[in-house]
């Protein structure tokens, strides 16, 4: 085995491994408290490699990308979910999409909802889309809880409000939750399949539309991966503007979530006030960046628009106003006994649990797990920004609220620093033709780490793009956080995580 240092601003190495080494390395990294970031597969038969399974694992701030040839006719690989629970659903999705089996215990389908047959694997390159299957849903065996007075509440995928589809199966006694099992995959759109048929440089628009609230982070990670394959040097001003967009996206989402948390707590006043702040914030996006949610701003090679001096002054003063207004609201929220009674101790996720489950992003930081790409593996310009990580140990809704508040202040500080020292020069370079065979991009989005990996067969010019949402890691946390809480508190707990459906299902 030989490790190859990839030419990326991230400290990442790649290696081809065999089954024994795949497993041995995983065991070693598991013992060293490593964290599995993503597990996926690709059909590399055009390049003569058969089916390939990939994993990215971070261990002691070093990033390892290992690839395993799983064979051609009856592809298999050793499961990692016994070491890294976060891998379990990704292994199931891997089988649904590519038919690569593993020796894990749970073989229920995850992304496949009978829209295609059990013997069809849409991400195989020889898959041709037939007429959509309209057969009735096959029963999905949820794990049931037995006992006196235990019953189940099935919620979703269609809800009473206008929200995204997900199914939640509660086993309860009265109003107390004994067990929660999620079922997702309802918004699977086949983005990876679509990206295979697009030129790499055009896929950014689609990547930025998988999850609209994280469009800047998605497009940014995608651009990083493509730039690595194309060996494209991004101008410094573009890198700084990207960071600016990511931080603005973070603030916009935190404001929206804080408002929604107030709403779920029954404090409509907070909802309106945070809604107002968010609306003003994204109206500025619309004026300066051409899109309220920043779509299509980040493109492979740089960013689509530059900022002039007036815009910079405006963005800077907007941060000052926002921080003042948010501090005032935080005073009200922190001081509101009724709201705090709902937040404190609700949906608690202990630090040990968060670590064992491989939590990422905001949810991890609220449980005391120091996990922030901007601090642990800072890419320019974060390498000189000295980002302060927001860490809380409560693990409850209140902790996730506190982390959101602190991240708003920190992001506002970062934005002002970025604006004050914005490098001059162009904001976009020509991306050039794809040449390399591996590309990887990662961005600390507001939910957590978003990863984009490109594998390419240079001879045939075919490629596969895998886009990983942090919700893969964090959806299972919710199942643990709600245990022992009350059914009517679930929406509040769910909102405090606010995980992605579309980003997860893709």
């Amino acid at each position: 085995m030989s490790w190859m240092r990839l030419s990326s601003p991230l400290p990442i190495h790649h290696a081809w491994v065999d089954s024994a080494l795949w497993r041995a390395l995983a065991v070693q990294w598991h013992c060293e408290d490593g964290q599995l970031i993503a597990l996926w597969g690709s059909d590399e038969r055009p390049a003569g490699l058969g089916f390939v399974v990939h994993a990215v694992i971070i261990c002691a701030d070093k990033w390892h990308w290992i690839s395993l040839r799983a064979g051609i006719d009856n592809p298999r690989f050793p499961a990692l979910s016994d070491l890294f629970p976060a891998a379990a659903r990704q292994e199931r999705a891997l089988f649904d999409l590519l038919g690569i089996a593993c020796d894990a215990g749970d073989t229920r389908s995850w992304l496949r909802h009978d829209a295609w047959g059990p013997a069809d694997f849409p991400l195989r390159r020889d898959f041709t889309e037939g007429p959509p299957t309209t057969s009735a849903d096959q029963p999905y065996p949820f794990i049931s809880v037995r006992g006196n007075g235990v019953h189940e509440i099935a919620v979703g995928p269609i809800h009473a409000g206008t929200i995204e589809p997900g199914h939640f199966r509660f086993s309860v006694v009265g109003d107390e939750i004994l067990r929660l099992e999620e079922r997702l995959g309802y918004t699977h759109k086949g983005v990876a399949k679509r990206l295979e048929g697009m030129p790499l440089r055009d896929g950014g628009r689609l990547a930025g539309r998988i999850c609209a609230d994280s469009t800047a982070a998605y497009a940014g990670a995608y651009a990083m991966a493509v730039e690595m394959v194309c060996a494209c040097a991004v101008p410094p001003r573009a890198l700084w503007l990207r960071a600016l967009l990511w931080e603005r996206e973070r603030i916009a989402n935190h404001l929206g979530d804080l408002g929604a948390l107030c709403q779920d707590g029954g404090l409509a006043f907070g909802h309106t006030q945070f809604g107002l702040l968010k609306e003003r914030w994204i109206q500025t996006h619309g004026r300066l960046f051409g899109h309220r949610y920043l779509m299509d701003m980040i493109v492979p090679g740089g960013v689509a628009r530059d900022l002039d001096a007036t815009a910079i002054a405006l963005l800077d003063s907007e941060c000052t106003t926002l921080v003042a207004a948010t501090r005032h609201l935080q005073y009200i929220v922190d001081d509101h006994a009724g709201l705090q009674e709902r937040f404190l101790g609700t949906g608690r996720l202990a630090e040990a649990q968060a670590r064992a489950l491989g939590a990422v992003g905001l949810a991890a930081r609220a449980s005391g797990v120091s996990c922030d790409l901007r601090v642990s593996a800072p890419t320019p310009p974060y390498d000189i920004l000295n980002t302060q990580i927001s860490l809380h140990h409560g693990g409850d809704v209140a902790a996730r609220v506190a982390v959101r508040f602190e991240e708003i202040y920190e992001s506002a500080r970062l934005i002002r620093t970025l604006l004050a020292a914005l490098p001059t020069g162009p904001v976009r370079a020509d991306c050039g033709r794809p040449e390399g065979s591996l590309g990887l991009g990662a961005v600390e989005g507001w939910r957590g780490l978003i990863l984009v990996a490109v594998t390419r067969a240079p001879d045939t010019d075919s490629h596969h793009v895998h886009i990983h949402d942090p919700s893969w890691q964090n959806w299972p946390l919710l199942e643990h956080a709600v245990l022992g809480d009350l059914v009517p508190d679930f929406p509040l707990i769910n909102k405090s995580f606010n995980l992605a459906y579309s980003g997860h299902d893709q």
């Binding site: 029954g266 509101h336 009350l486 009517p488």
Partner: protein
């Protein structure tokens, strides 16, 4: 004379039915103002009702006749309750035939039908809502009765007409016992009408719902009738509160000239109560479900304190 009584009764019933959505609109508008929103206007509930009334109701195949009958039963019971409360005059034929305890019984009847209908289809949310509604109901009802007993002890009767006459005759005297009862009554009103902090009438999160969960399977005119009866119920509760704690201005004689003033005063009382409700709903967050028993326990305790103050000290 008989005709006169009859007309008064009809006028009050029509008033309750017609004005209840306006009260809802007023509360929502006040809440919007308090939250710095423009609001949808006072007439929004009427628009919603007319929209729902024009829509075809969808009823599940498995629904029993009880499911279809319940919206009509709820509407009727609330109208009957509204007819029984002396809001502008004590000279009402129906107000004399029943007392406050019977009124509590009418509300209980409506609650039982609502819960049965919610469980009729066997959906998880209907049963969950029914369970929670009964939890709130069985705690609120004794508190409500205790509240009613304090003015009953002062006036020597459980009849609302007698209570209004006696209390209004005493003039503006502050009874400490009635202050306790009034505080308890506000808490019971919030719980019984599914308002914050007990229940959030604006929520669309099915897992947090209490009252809304009962109505999830209803649509079209069925839902319109339920929404309307919800508005009437709140109207009647405020009417009872006004009769018990602010009986001044309710006419007692046959003089028709005093009626317009009585109606104007009723409007003022409703507006003030609606605004007060909006303030409460803005200031308080929703309670954790298992805190609701404590909330209603406090209401019960206050009502009992009111009774004790009256019984032991005669205030």
């Amino acid at each position: 004379m008989i005709m006169n009584l009859f007309v008064r009764q009809i006028v009050q019933i029509l008033l309750v039915i017609a004005m209840a959505p306006l009260l809802m609109g007023w509360i929502r508008q006040c809440r919007a103002w308090l939250a710095n929103r423009a609001g949808a206007g006072l007439l929004q509930p009427y628009r919603e009702l007319s929209k729902l009334l024009r829509k075809q109701p969808i009823v599940a195949h498995e629904a029993s006749p009880l499911f279809v009958a319940t919206p009509y039963i709820l509407f009727t019971t609330m109208v009957v309750a509204g007819a029984m409360v002396p809001m502008t005059t004590t000279r009402l034929p129906l107000a004399g035939v029943s007392d406050a305890v019977a009124l509590a019984g009418v509300f209980a009847l409506a609650r039982i039908f609502a819960a049965l209908a919610a469980m009729d289809l066997g959906t998880a949310f209907g049963s969950m809502g029914a369970r929670r509604a009964m939890l709130v109901g069985f705690l609120a009802e004794p508190a409500l009765l205790m509240v009613l007993f304090t003015p009953a002890m002062i006036s020597g009767s459980t009849s609302l007409v007698v209570i209004v006459r006696q209390l209004a005759r005493h003039g503006i005297i502050l009874y400490p016992s009635m202050a306790f009862a009034a505080a308890a009554y506000v808490m019971v009103t919030l719980a019984e009408n599914a308002r914050l902090p007990v229940d959030n009438p604006d929520t669309h999160l099915e897992l947090t719902m209490i009252h809304e969960a009962l109505n999830l399977e209803y649509s079209g005119r069925h839902l319109a009738l339920i929404e309307w009866s919800v508005a009437i119920k709140l109207f009647v509760y405020i009417g009872i509160g006004a009769a018990l704690f602010f009986p001044w201005g309710i006419t007692q004689g046959h003089d028709l000239a005093a009626l317009p003033i009585a109606y104007a005063l009723l409007l003022a009382k409703l507006a003030a109560a609606g605004a007060g409700l909006a303030v409460i709903e803005t200031v308080f967050a929703k309670l954790r479900l298992f805190r609701v028993p404590e909330f209603l326990g406090t209401a019960f305790l206050l009502a009992v304190l009111g009774l004790l103050v009256r019984y032991l000290f005669g205030h």
